[in-house]
């Protein structure tokens, strides 16, 4: 029998978009039973009702094919290894179902704007009356308390607020040159899963549950110590430096022979510089003895970058990467999302398994983010279709009878399809 680290634990996932659902997926990867409760009859942001050119509107398959909401990569990317129901939790009968699910759960993840849970009677003080050792985690943008309680955003706003957007822009240009990114959803998902497991670990010892208030801003600020200490220690507001590095040269993305291809190269120390000089055939510019030491390379990095670019331009990304790696120089191709799926290392480790999906046939998706030798994780359930496990959860796990289930379906408390006009409202 293969054990799973979190087998036996039960999680209710009532979060939307990326950070919360991904955290729940991670707990599912680790063997927890995760029951996702999706918004119904109104569709959430990553469940588009029509195909579109950008964002959640990007869908697999022809735009006119049925069940658009089940075909959006923006939903699939953060959901796997879950049972999922589509439930009208605002209706009394739906709320009753939700409370029964929470009553049998160890962890409840809720992803509403601060204040919404109270209004729905889903705040921790209320829920712990029913389930005293519940671990509950809420992840509003700026947290559950403070003057911005109730303010709304996605991860890209938190990235801006924490100072990361500023650092990412092209040096010398303005913030419009930095694309919106959702990095804080990724690190937020990890922090959520970590916090939930920490609380479960404590509960095993103490019998006590707890409430966790998580703001992705505060997670991200823990990942940006350099600017914080530089400001305090030197009164310096760090400015964007692009692909340069304060302690390494050369360090950057160098253009290769094919159009719009680059190779990232980073030379950590003087020994690696010597290796690089050998790997590129020891051209005269590189044999300058002054360049053997880092301070000179840092000072003359524009010149070094120019020369090195001349060398990389003569080779394909792959050729240049292999030549440098053969000499022990850190080099990595700037892959596109298509190219990375063909990478030899990731192929060798089975990182892009092909998984079946009821509407889409099969497609390849990134695997679980680690390998555990004796409790191997896998994606054993692909992203759910809307309401895919309504019956399995309500009848199988909660013990509802067929007639009772049919009544809920007829009353629109649970369902598997959105009607036209089921407006998107993620807050």
């Amino acid at each position: 029998v293969t054990r799973q680290p979190l087998e036996g634990y039960k999680v209710v996932d009532m979060t939307e978009v990326w950070a919360g659902p991904m955290a729940a997926s991670i707990l599912g990867d680790l063997g927890a039973e995760v029951i996702r409760v999706e918004s119904f009859p109104r569709a959430a942001a990553t469940r588009p009702l029509a195909a579109g050119a950008s964002g959640p509107g990007i869908v697999a398959g022809p735009p006119e094919a049925p069940r658009v909401w089940d075909r959006a990569p923006s939903y699939h990317i953060s959901n796997r290894n879950k049972l999922a129901i589509a439930l009208d939790a605002m209706a009394p009968k739906g709320r009753d179902i939700l409370l029964r699910l929470i009553g049998r759960a160890d962890v409840f993840l809720i992803g509403f704007t601060a204040g919404t849970a109270e209004r729905m009677g889903l705040d921790y003080e209320t829920l712990r009356q029913q389930k005293p050792d519940l671990v509950m985690l809420s992840l509003p943008g700026w947290g559950e308390k403070g003057p911005y309680k109730g303010y709304a955003t996605y991860g890209s706003g938190l990235d801006a607020f924490a100072g990361h957007h500023h650092l990412r822009q092209y040096p010398g240009l303005d913030p419009t040159t930095a694309p919106s990114i959702f990095h804080s959803d990724a690190t937020g998902a990890l922090a959520i899963a970590f916090a939930a497991m920490g609380a479960l670990h404590y509960r095993e010892r103490s019998g006590r549950g707890q409430f966790i208030d998580l703001s992705q801003v505060e997670v991200l600020l823990n990942h940006l110590p350099g600017p914080l200490f530089d400001w305090q220690m030197n009164g310096r507001v760090q400015q964007p430096i692009g692909n340069r590095h304060p302690d390494m040269a050369p360090h950057g993305a160098y253009p290769c022979s094919e159009p719009a291809t680059w190779l990232a190269i980073a030379v950590r120390d003087d020994a690696m510089w010597s290796a690089l000089v050998g790997a590129i055939g020891g051209p005269a510019w590189a044999l300058d003895p002054a360049l053997r030491t880092l301070p000179h390379r840092l000072e003359r990095r524009a010149e070094v970058d120019r020369h090195l670019s001349t060398w990389t331009r003569g080779l394909t990304q792959r050729e240049a990467m292999e030549r440098l790696q053969a000499a022990g120089v850190a080099a990595g191709a700037v892959y596109s999302p298509v190219e990375v799926m063909a990478d030899a290392q990731l192929q060798a480790r089975g990182f892009f398994p092909e998984l079946p999906h009821p509407l889409l046939g099969a497609y390849r998706r990134p695997n679980v983010m680690w390998q555990m030798a004796r409790t191997p994780s896998s994606i054993h359930r692909n992203s759910n279709t809307l309401g895919e496990h309504n019956r399995e959860v309500l009848c199988g796990l909660l013990g509802l009878g067929d007639a009772e289930f049919a009544d809920l379906e007829a009353a629109g408390i649970v369902g598997t399809e959105y009607r036209p006009g089921a407006e998107i409202d993620p807050t």
Partner: protein, 411 residues
């Protein structure tokens, strides 16, 4: 849950920190692995950081006070290694390895970040460590993982970030791709390792299953929600690189004193935006109904929204837009975040004294736990600060032994 085998070890007395029963040996260097250990330490784990005699290389990275390099004053090192004790040890020596194995016997979790072939040479392979401590959790955090053709390839943050495909997506079409802020990707890898480590502790404590946890930085950066391979795989379409993000409704736009990031591209959010700026009469205007129409009439839309923003400071615009639940946030720098009323109200930033580096303000709790509060209990260790406490107190070596180890360059 029925009490699983091995439950005795986790049913002890109630402690005030979530992980206070956990002992962790941090052999990691630089950012990712030490950050994983820091996350465990923050929840109360007893973490001993083992450094080479020259110190963790992160001690030589800035920022430093007044830009003067000092191994005890690196802001990066101080942050990554707070809440840990620290010893120095050269475990490439035979004596050093014996001491290391004594520490492994003490630990529940070992975190290391050596290239796989070097880890084997240093006696850190799973086979070696499992023989030392059955049931151990060994977390190996490397650029490419323990297997595969790149396992011993050289790597830095930028080269792994490049391979993950996220660098390609980060930069404007037609321009050079860019890395993220300094070390941000490594912090993500460390966070991934912390999750995997804690999960493996569950397997160890509940089922008595020790194991090696293989964390590949490349996989951590390729497999999370901020990467786009899945979009390409599902749609069969290459993912376009981003276009310039100047937009009144889904990007950043200028206010009186800086920029505001707006997320108002969807129908409902756009209507909220119009209400917030006093332009509710434009709701339903055919020029602005639907994303395609708004894109086609972007100039006219700009003429309405940009002046409203330009008349206001970021703070004014932020509060007025949020009053209508328009998703937005000011584009700030760290000095502004330090004074931000929200972070101040939550007591986020925390001052901490260090015997050599002095008193600085650190990032605070990444999340607030009601029963087991996050604490900043101790500053990062001086190099070898706890040699006596650990080798003497924990392993029972006498003063003479310690002097000999120091004289022979083992500690």
């Amino acid at each position: 849950l029925t009490p699983p085998p091995g439950a005795d070890s986790i049913c002890g007395s109630v402690a005030d920190s979530a992980l206070s029963d956990l002992k962790v040996l941090d052999l990691g260097t630089d950012v990712a692995a030490p950050y994983a250990a820091r996350m465990l330490a923050d929840l109360g784990a007893d973490v001993i950081k083992v450094e080479p005699l020259a110190g963790d290389p992160s001690r030589r990275r800035g920022p430093f006070p007044d830009d003067l390099p000092d191994a005890e004053k690196s802001g990066l090192f101080l942050h990554l290694n707070a809440n840990k004790r620290g010893v120095s040890l050269d475990y490439a020596t035979a004596t050093g390895r014996r001491l290391l194995y004594d520490l492994v016997r003490w630990a529940d979790v070992v975190i290391e970040s050596e290239a796989p072939s070097r880890a084997e040479a240093l006696g850190l392979s799973w086979t070696a460590l499992e023989a030392v401590k059955p049931g151990l959790v060994l977390v190996s955090v490397t650029p490419f993982g323990q297997t595969g053709p790149y396992r011993d390839w050289a790597a830095e943050e930028i080269t792994v970030f490049a391979l993950s495909s996220r660098m390609w997506m980060h930069g404007l079409d037609g321009m050079e791709p860019l890395r993220y802020g300094p070390d941000v990707a490594w912090f993500q890898v460390g966070s991934t390792a912390a999750v995997a480590a804690l999960a493996a502790v569950f397997a160890s404590q509940r089922f008595g299953i020790g194991q090696q946890v293989d964390v590949s930085a490349l996989e951590a950066l390729t497999g999370n929600v901020d990467a786009r391979p899945l979009f390409a795989a599902m749609t069969g379409q290459p993912q376009p690189r981003p276009a310039r993000a100047l937009s009144t409704i889904a990007g950043v736009a200028p206010c009186k004193d800086g920029y505001m990031l707006l997320i108002a591209g969807s129908e409902r959010f756009f209507r909220r935006l119009l209400r917030a700026i006093g332009a509710a009469e434009l709701i339903g205007d055919p020029r602005f109904v639907g994303q395609a129409a708004r894109a086609a009439n972007a100039g006219e839309l700009d003429a309405i929204v940009l002046p409203w923003l330009a008349d206001r400071t970021r703070r004014e615009a932020f509060d007025q837009l949020q009053a209508y639940s328009v998703m937005c946030a000011p584009v700030q720098t760290i000095d502004e975040a330090l004074d931000d009323p929200q972070l101040v109200a939550r007591d986020f930033f925390v001052p901490l004294d260090h015997p050599v580096a002095g008193r600085w303000t650190y990032p605070g709790a990444p999340f607030l736990m009601s029963e087991t509060p996050w604490t900043l209990r101790r500053p990062a260790p001086l190099l070898g600060e706890h040699n006596r406490e650990v080798y003497g107190g924990l392993l029972g070596l006498g003063d003479d032994d310690l002097a000999l180890l120091a004289a022979s360059g083992v500690i």
